[in-house]
Amino acid sequence: MSTPTAEDGRTTMQGNSFAGDVWVNFKRWTLKSVRNPFVLVGSFVQPIVFLVLFTEVFGNVAGQALPGGIAYETYLVPAIAIQVALAAAATSGVGLVNDIESGMFEKVLVSPMNRTAVFLGKTISELLRIAVQIVMILGLGILLGAEIATGVVGAVGIVVVGIVFSLWFIAFSNALALITEDQESTIIGANLLQFPLLFVSSAFLPLSSLPEWIQTVAAVNPITYGVDAARAIILDAT
């Protein structure tokens, strides 16, 4: 498709294939996230702080709430993996807002690239970033004493859960971006949702040790299911 067409005598450049368009956009966003470490680090700092502080501060107390001698590190790591996925996914819309503000979004729209491919490329780039971050969290968790009962396969499984889980938040963040067309609102909106949802879930403590109303909310909180899935893998439960 990359040869100029001679039809009706006009030289018009044909665009790429769909996969080509995805690739072009994937490259751009990956380059940008490597180039701008703030985004990479920004979404990473908080989960690491949580992982280290929670295990150090609450480790002893929280460990007592856990069934059958599971270390709190092991219990917490899958939650932090999901938190990383959420935090990184929340910044997805920020990239879109930046593009709208800088005119790059319009530049992309005026090009012959397939528009679905444009978003797909961006999303895949973000998912790659999320995968890398989850792997780093798992590594850090192991250093702190967490054990992944299912080994390397389990680690890959947790990454997959994190990726699948982050998709809905990427969608949410981009929707926020399109509605607000404003960076701060997008970040605040995503964070507003992220924090309460994390605490009102099984992320930090077993549901059974939480107040009843939280249990009720947690039952309809998607984070509970994301964390439970990742946790099932790390504990080799069921």
Binding site: M1, M13, G20, L31, G103, M104, V110, P112
Partner: protein, 349 residues
């Protein structure tokens, strides 16, 4: 060159742009473009002139497939903008009013992304990027991130990214707004060069000087409608001759008296006489020949002339004449301003 795609051009050149009865109405009911019919033959440097909010950006975005026409025909490079937007997109370059570069990428990376977006063959990419960097004088900062560039440099990079695929038609939406004169001249030179190489250029501008310098033909849009078109010389002729500015000492009464003298003098046919801040202005075909006679007539009435000047009309005069008329007719700008805001929001409506 094509034989008979689209409608036939003026003369024997095929049309790069052909619109017929184009109307664009926004969701809020604003009629940003009311009835615009344009024919721009291939290779022309065409200027689209109008004040803020007149509908320039809306028109250019519609031609570039960023907005959908509410009604009317739009053909760009022979393709129907409504039914074949992808073919239109791959055959045009578009430079938006707001500078659009990715500030986190270097100049070279911005150009590479543009090359890839338009499917420029891999083998041609690096040569073409080097060539464009050279053309816009950014070769020595090619590896710097665009965020570090000055406004003028970003504009030039933006212009270069619009050309990577060598489109036969380029849309430039107020490309020099906010630039200093030096940067503006450089861009002008650059636009002339690509036009000399055969590229059709559709340029919107508020700067009459810009249109005068660059464009072979102009249309003036006001309040969503085209109110004048022709070559810059044609339009200047429409002003109705030469312009005689006379400075007059004294109060507004003195100026009014001077106007009366000029009107009653029978020196000029079909003259327009108006007061200005410090005197009067006479626009007439015979302003040059009979200027001195008017000065004598003024002296006879004891009106003190402190200065005078005869000049050919500029596009500013054309613009003032046209927009002046329309404002008097009550074509207020409020709705049109809203339209420009809506247009600036962009999006794919």
């Amino acid at each position: 060159m094509s034989s008979d795609t689209g409608s036939t051009g003026e003369g024997d050149r095929p049309l790069a742009i052909a619109t017929d009865g184009l109307e664009v109405t926004y969701a809020d009911g604003t009629e940003a473009v009311r009835d615009v019919s344009l024919s721009v033959p291939e290779g022309e440097f065409f200027g689209f002139l109008g004040p803020n909010g007149a509908g320039k950006t809306t028109t250019i975005k519609t031609l570039a497939t960023l907005l959908s026409p509410t009604s009317g025909e739009v053909r760009v490079n022979g393709f129907d903008a409504r039914t074949e937007p992808e073919r239109v997109r791959s055959s045009i370059g578009y430079m938006a009013q707001e500078t659009s570069v990715d500030e986190e990428l270097t100049a070279r990376e911005n150009l590479r992304f543009a090359c890839e977006s338009y499917g420029v063959p891999r083998a041609d990419r690096s040569d073409r990027i080097d060539e464009l960097l050279e053309l816009v004088d950014l070769a020595d900062v090619a590896e710097k991130e665009a965020g570090e560039f000055s406004g003028g440099m970003k504009k030039r990079l933006d212009a270069a990214t619009a050309l990577v695929h060598r489109p036969p038609l380029v849309f430039l939406d107020e490309p020099t707004t906010g630039l200093d004169p030096k940067a503006r001249n450089r861009l002008w030179e650059y636009f002339r060069r690509i036009n000399d190489q055969g590229t059709t250029i559709f340029l919107t501008t508020q700067y009459l000087e810009e249109a005068d310098q660059l464009c072979e033909r102009l249309s003036v849009i006001l309040d969503g409608e085209i109110v004048a078109d022709g070559t810059p010389a044609d339009l200047k002729r429409e002003v109705g001759g030469e312009i005689l500015d006379i400075e007059i000492e004294g109060s507004a009464d003195e100026r009014e008296r001077a106007v009366a003298v000029a009107r009653e003098s029978d020196l000029f046919e079909a003259a327009t006489v108006e007061t200005t801040d410090d005197g009067i202005t006479v626009t007439a075909r015979t302003a040059r020949q009979h200027g001195t006679d008017l000065l004598v007539a003024l002296r006879d009435e004891d009106i003190v002339v402190t200065g005078f000047n005869v000049r050919s009309p500029t596009l500013d005069d054309v613009f003032l004449a046209i927009t002046g008329e329309h404002v008097e007719e009550g074509g207020a700008d409020a709705t049109a301003d809203a339209a420009e805001v809506a247009a600036a929001d962009g999006g794919d409506r």
